[in-house]
Amino acid sequence: MNDQHSSDSAQLSTDAAARLLQASESVDDRVREAIAARTQAIIDAWMAVAVVAYCLAFAFSNVGGAAGAGLIPGVENTTGEGVSVTFLVLAAFFAASGLTDGLTQSLRHPTGRGAKLRRGYATASLLPFAAIVYLVFFAPTASVPLAVLIVAASAAPVVVLAIRSARRAKLAGVRRPEPALSALLDPPGRVGTAILGLWLGAIGTLSAPTFGLAGLIAACAFFLVLLATRTTRFGLDRLAEDWGRTQWTAFGCSYLLVLALSVLLTRTTWDLGVVGVVGGVLVAAPLVIAAFRPAPIWEA
């Protein structure tokens, strides 16, 4: 592309103007693709962390017999309460998936190398889940250390891809600058974020054995609401577009707290009612606080 100056704008022909417009559209396309590739790399890196954390928590809380006792001081095996906890972990994971799906759908569909990377990432993400299915159905009495080892080994490919994605995102030549403006989320965003936190917290609390199947019911209601609000103003996909770093960090904290709570509820002999209540409050708090914190505003 040359920088030859044609100062006489009157000479600009219809064809030349059309060609310039076409070239501008093509440049715009390439820039969008580069932005989408970087955003997708960030999503992939964090989602890999979420997948690995989820699978490890699942292995800790749902697999393994009494042989798992003693892995963590004060944390040992309790049996028969796995159903609600399984749904607690699933609720957090579905929320994470709903949020990241919203961001992914707003991006351009990758082509060429980007599409190949996506396929590789999707395949690698399935391996830890396959390991969990194997453990649950074929080796339910495997010791916790062995279960965790199997899940960790199966997660190796997705971890490698996540590190590569993070590196690609860091070195990318397109990125968002620090936002100049920030403001509170709009009312639906605030309400949606706070309700997400409160609901995850409630599922966490109700998953304690003290509350019977209430946790399971709360989790099922949560899944139905996720489905019903999908693509609406209150849907997670829309929330994801409005969130800033504060809200994402808060969700990350709540997510990890849910997973930690699931492990404590199944592997401890502590007072599980108290663990559930304290855990639920801790799960809800970050998102409720973040709902009333500013998020960046990007100029159109």
Partner: protein, 116 residues
């Protein structure tokens, strides 16, 4: 000034294909580094530097120096003045490309000249 040919709205700073493409690539909410922009526009360092300094002097883009690791990077963003100028320029190009005649009859001859 009732009779107004779209060419009057063309911005001199955006008249070269490269400068126009630079502004088409830049956004207010995204920083693009010099090397990436050069690859996206399939141009060379020297031509891109000249285009950037002209656009910078017009106040259409902002330049920020930074580092990624130990490597120096030059980050570019469009300013709001640049975005507004680009919008007017693109509208004028669209009008020219559509072969729109001037609003009044006085410039009909000029319009046909411009579209040749």
């Amino acid at each position: 000034m009732g009779d107004h040919h779209p060419r009057h709205d063309l911005d001199d700073a955006l008249l070269t294909p490269l400068r126009f493409s630079v502004m088409a690539a830049l956004r207010a909410e995204v920083e693009i580094d010099f090397g990436t922009l050069r690859e996206l526009l399939e141009t060379d360092d020297s031509a891109l530097s000249k285009a950037i300094s002209t656009l910078g002097a017009a106040g259409y883009l902002a330049v920020r120096k930074g580092y990624v690791g130990n490597r120096p990077r030059t980050w570019l963003t469009a300013t709001s003045a640049g975005i507004a100028a680009m919008r007017i320029h693109v509208a004028a190009l669209q009008a020219i490309a559509a072969g729109l005649p001037p609003a009044g009859g006085a410039e009909t001859g000029e319009a046909s000249d411009a579209s040749r």
